[in-house]
Each structure stands twice: as C-alpha cells, then as structure tokens.
C-alpha cells in the first residue's frame, strides 16, 4: 500500500519535473533562436525584395487606380487629364441628372434580388450535397460547370434563352406546357430578376463548393452527440450546421453585395440598360459617361458614389465580423 503510494508520488514528481524542464528548455531555445544573429535586418530586406513584383502589381493595378479615380472625381477634366479643382460640382451634376435616382434604385434592386435568389440557394444546396452518397462528385462537377463558361458566353446563352416571341427557348418550353409566351427582357418589371437569374446560374457552383469545404470542417462527433441527445435532423442543422457556416456566409453576403452593386457587363450585353433604362446600373451608367459621352469627370464621380456606398457596407462588415470572432 505504502509502496504503491510512494511509487505514484514519485512518478508524478518526476513527470512534473520533466514537463517543467522541457518547457523551460523550449522557451530558452526559442528565445535563443529569436535573438540569434540570423534574424538581421538584412534578411528582412531580402524577403521584401522578393515581394517587389507583387507589391508593384498590387499598387499599380489595384490600389493606385482607385486613389487616382477618387481624387480625379473632384477635378475638372479635359479629356484624360485634370485641369483644375472642381469641388463637388461633378457630384452635383451627376446627382441632378434625371436618370440618377432611377439608376440608384435599379442598382439596389439588383442587389436585393441577388440576395433573395442567390444568397440562400448555395447554402441550401451545399448542405444537401454534403448529405449525398450517390454521384456526389459528378453532381458537384455538373454544378461547377457554368463557372467555367466565360461570363460573356454565359450572358449570351441566357440572352438566347430569353428571346421574346417564337424564337426564345424559354418561350418554346412554355408553349410546350400550354402557357402564354412572355417578352422576358423587354418587360421592365422582370428584367432585373432575369439578369440576376442568369448570373446566379453562372456563379452559384463555385459558392457551393466553397461552402462544402466549410462543411467538411465540422466535427462529426457534434452530430453524433446531438443525435444521441435526441435532436432531430432539422434541429441539428439549425444548431450545428448553420452557426458553423455563419462567418463564411457573412463574408459571402458582403462579397455578393460588393460584386452585384458594381454590376455592369451583364446588363450591357443583355439589354444595354433598357427597356427605357429599367436595367441601367450605376456602373453601367458610369461606363456610358466615359466611353459614349466622353465625360470622364462624371464617370469618375458616379464611380466614387458607388465606392462610398460600398465602403460603408465594408465598415459594417468588419464590425460584425469582429463580434462573430469573439464567439
């Protein structure tokens, strides 16, 4: 009895000793590494030199255009060069434009529709695909396929689908089931959701795969434990799956707002902003100012307004994200 007690005490003591010893050794070893003359400033410089191509690209192709664009929007422009300070004149002239309010509302509508159609679908589909055991890989590849189609070709495919009258593919399908043919893109109430559908078709596969990667990171034991405690399938999805996806869903949410708010090429290809300006977006209007009417300063002012709206969204995002990380 005494002997075993002694024995355990001795073992505990030695274990503790060894643990403490290794800890101290590690700490000293790391400190030694950090203070060793290998980490000179020269090494830092060499590392940053390797980064030069990247920093060049980031500055000149991502950051500088934004800075230049923002600052030129306060200038009076002659062709492509600023000739004087204009203050807020450009903004006032852009906002006074009769089409401005309508364009802004259109852009907001694009965003709203895209969130209604395109935000929850990938989450839902990813959760379902994650449950499948049959043909899972094949289905994933099929869903990802439209992402490979160049955006231009995707817009044109849907342009052919949406053609009014007998020529349109969708109208053919409707006629087959005995319905009335629609005018699709020429309907000013339908045009925005239709363009959003075509964009969702192209983009949702990659988002699904993204969410799937996140779903793979959920610890399987959580589900097991919840099941044994009597939680049903829906309850498990609500209490385990969705909270786990929340941070990524938030990021996707903001990215989608940023992306769709700057929608430009899709309406340009499919409708040209019509019918009667019903699908004109802020960025498309900015493009038209620049390359159709050659009013650089107005194009930049409109771009700056979009920029400001989206930066406010961004600030909200970073605030909410910080709160989420605490949990």
């Amino acid at each position: 009895m005494l002997k075993t007690l002694q024995h355990t005490l001795f073992r505990r003591f030695t274990d503790n000793y060894i643990k403490k010893g290794t800890k101290m050794f590690k700490r000293n070893f790391n400190r030694g590494l950090n203070k060793s003359p290998v980490r000179l400033k020269k090494v830092d410089m060499a590392a940053w030199i390797l980064c030069v191509p990247f920093i060049f690209g980031l500055y000149f192709f991502q950051i500088r255009p934004i800075i230049i664009g923002l600052s030129y929007s306060f200038c009076e422009m002659k062709g492509f060069s600023p000739i004087g300070f204009a203050g807020l004149d450009n903004f006032i002239s852009v906002i006074r434009d009769t089409a401005f309010i309508k364009t802004l509302i259109n852009t907001v509508m694009y965003t709203v529709w895209s969130l209604v159609i395109g935000f929850w679908v990938p989450i839902f589909v990813a959760v379902i695909v994650n449950e499948l055991v049959h043909f899972r890989g094949t289905l994933k590849v099929m869903m990802y396929l439209p992402c490979i189609v160049p955006s231009l070709a995707a817009s044109l495919i849907w342009y052919f689908f949406y053609q009014p009258g007998q020529a349109g593919v969708l109208n053919q399908v409707i006629l087959l089931f005995g319905g009335e043919p629609q005018v699709w893109l020429q309907d000013k109430n339908l045009v925005i959701p239709l363009i959003i559908i075509s964009m969702t078709w192209r983009g949702f596969g990659s988002t699904v795969v993204f969410y799937l990667a996140a779903l793979q990171g959920i610890n399987q034991e959580l589900y097991e434990a919840a099941r044994i405690d009597g939680a049903g399938i829906i309850k498990r999805a609500k209490t385990i799956t969705l909270p786990h996806l929340a941070p990524i869903a938030l990021l996707m949410f903001v990215k989608q707002i940023i992306g769709i708010f700057q929608i430009q090429s899709e309406p340009m290809l499919m409708t040209g902003g019509g019918p009667n300006g019903a699908s004109l977006s802020l960025n498309l209007q900015s493009y038209y100012y620049m390359f159709n009417y050659f009013q650089t300063e107005r194009a930049l002012a409109l771009g700056t307004i979009t920029f400001a709206i989206l930066m406010i969204t961004n600030i909200f995002y970073f605030r909410i994200e910080k709160k989420l990380e605490i949990y």
């Binding site: 400033k41 980064c51 980031l58 000149f60 499948l132 099929m142 189609v149 700056t304």
Partner: protein
C-alpha cells in the same frame, strides 16, 4: 443500400438511414440536387449542339429544342470566315503570360508572408485583406487612363499585351491562397532539410516547390479563366485587328451588330467556351481541392 452504411459525414447518420422515412427524405434531396445540376449542365450542352444545327433548322420557326441535325463542319466554316485562329492564339498568349506573371508575383509574396515573415508581415496581411474588399467601381476608368499613359514611365499600352500581363502580378486573393497553402506544409520537413545542410534557396526549390504543384495548378487555372473571360480591357486597349482576343470579338460583334449570321455567331460563342472546358475536365479534381485549400481559412 450498401452506400448508406458507408456514409460517414453530414447531418444524417448512417444509422438513421435504415429508417424508411429518412430514406424518402434522402431521395427527395437527391432529386433536388439532380434537377439543379441539370439546370446547370443542360444550357451548356444545348448551346453546343444547337449551334451545330443545319442552317435551315436553325432559322426554322418554331425552332427545335432538341436538334435534329448535327453538322460539325460548321466549325470549320466559322473558323475560316472569322479567322478564329488568330483570335484564339492572342487570347492564349495573354492567358499564358498572365499565368506566369501571376504565379511568380503572388507565389513569391505568399512564400515570404508564410515562411520568411519579415518585419511588417502583419501590416501587409491587413493591407491584403482590405484590398480584397475594396470596390473597384472607379478602377475601370482610372485603369484605362493609366494604361494609355502609364505613370512615371509614360508608356502607352494600347495594342500591347504587357499591360494585361503586369496586371496579373498583384492579386491579393491568390497571395492569401498561396500563403495558407505554404502554412500547411509541415515545419519538420524544412527542419530536416536544414539539418541535412540545405540552404534557404535549396529549401525553396527542392522542398517547397515540388510540394506546391497542386496550388500552382489551381491558381494557374483560375488565372486562365479570369483572363479568358476578360473582355472590357482588351476591348478598350487592343485596337489592332491582328491583336484582338476572342471574347473581345464576340463582344464587339454583339455591340456593333455587324454582318455575321446568327448561327455562325453561336458557333463562335461555343468555340470561346471550349478551351476552358477542356482544361476544367482535365483538372477538375485539382480545382475542387484548390477551393478546399482556400475555403478553410476563408
């Protein structure tokens, strides 16, 4: 039902799938997925087959949804009529250059941020995260301005591929992908190499490079797709007929409405889809895994 027993992940467990009700639920979910996958898949196939319809069938009213005729020789006709070869070649040259520039620029930066960690790494990471979220609503116009008259050097980049290549150097997202991949390479491998007397450069070329082939492939493919879809900048900058890209050609024909018959135009749209599709079919495993690499860290 053997497949059910093997199921190891997801909300529904394999034990529950022995239940009849759960099985019905499972097949309903399968059906939803199948329908969605077909919606994704069929338009692509449809455009391929219907562009190769016989011309009389193409213009018949009402048009046939399931094509009756199949004429692959229309590809040759379109190829000759529109001289697609030169456009495809230009697009490929731009894409290839962009891939090389992108991998060199972002790969090196990712390596530095992940392994070397010089002073200021934290600040750089913050800049990267912010620049990923920055809206580029003014950058098309401002980018065009600087392409016509590049700052400090005063080079005019019209009719020149170099501008597109240089633009691929600084992609924040791909740098983060590279960084998180390099982070996942085990430190003990590098330690072992160091003990065996490998220098810093040797470590990069002999250990890091061979291990990071998957991520290089993935980012190469992403860059290829980006560059293949891009049509606005080429449309603005490449004015010379012999330098135009295929997307630009499709776009300018759509905008100007020039005299190309609808069916030949569709063949051209189809041709612009084929190279990315071939690459996707070859590398689709890599692409799916690549998103996993990036997905873990967001």
């Amino acid at each position: 039902m053997k497949a059910f027993a093997k199921k190891s992940n997801g909300i529904i467990s394999s034990i529950e799938l022995k239940n009849r009700k759960t099985q019905i639920l499972y097949w309903c979910m399968f059906l939803i997925c199948l329908v969605l996958a077909l919606i994704c898949f069929l338009p692509v196939i449809w455009i391929m087959f219907s562009s190769l319809k016989d011309i009389s069938e193409f213009y018949s009213s009402p048009p046939t949804i399931i094509p009756k005729t199949f004429q692959p020789e229309k590809i040759l006709i379109a190829w000759k009529q529109l001289k697609l070869g030169s456009y495809l070649r230009n697009t490929l040259i731009i894409a290839a250059g962009r891939i090389i520039f992108c991998i060199v620029g972002t790969g090196l930066a990712g390596y530095v941020l992940s392994r070397l960690k010089p002073k200021g790494t934290g600040g750089m990471m913050r800049i990267l995260l912010w620049s990923m979220m920055l809206p580029g609503s003014v950058s098309l116009v401002a980018g065009y301005l600087q392409a016509v008259d590049f700052p400090y050097l005063h080079i005019n980049f019209t009719n020149n591929f170099t501008y597109f290549w240089l633009g691929a150097l600084g992609n924040a997202y791909y740098t983060l992908l590279f960084k998180s991949f390099f982070d996942s390479i085990s430190e003990s491998l590098v330690e072992a190499a160091k003990i065996d007397g490998c220098q810093e450069l040797g470590i990069f070329f002999k250990i890091i490079m061979p291990l990071s082939i998957p991520i290089v492939v993935v980012i190469g493919i992403f860059t290829f797709n980006d560059s293949w879809s891009d049509f606005l900048m080429p449309y603005l900058l490449l004015k010379d007929e012999s330098l135009k890209t295929i997307s630009q050609l499709i776009f300018s024909i759509k905008m100007s409405g020039s005299q190309v018959s609808q069916d030949i135009y569709l063949v051209m749209v189809m041709m612009s889809m084929i190279p990315p599709l071939i690459i996707f079919l070859i590398f689709n495993k890599h692409i799916m895994n690549g998103i996993n690499i990036g997905g873990v860290k967001g």
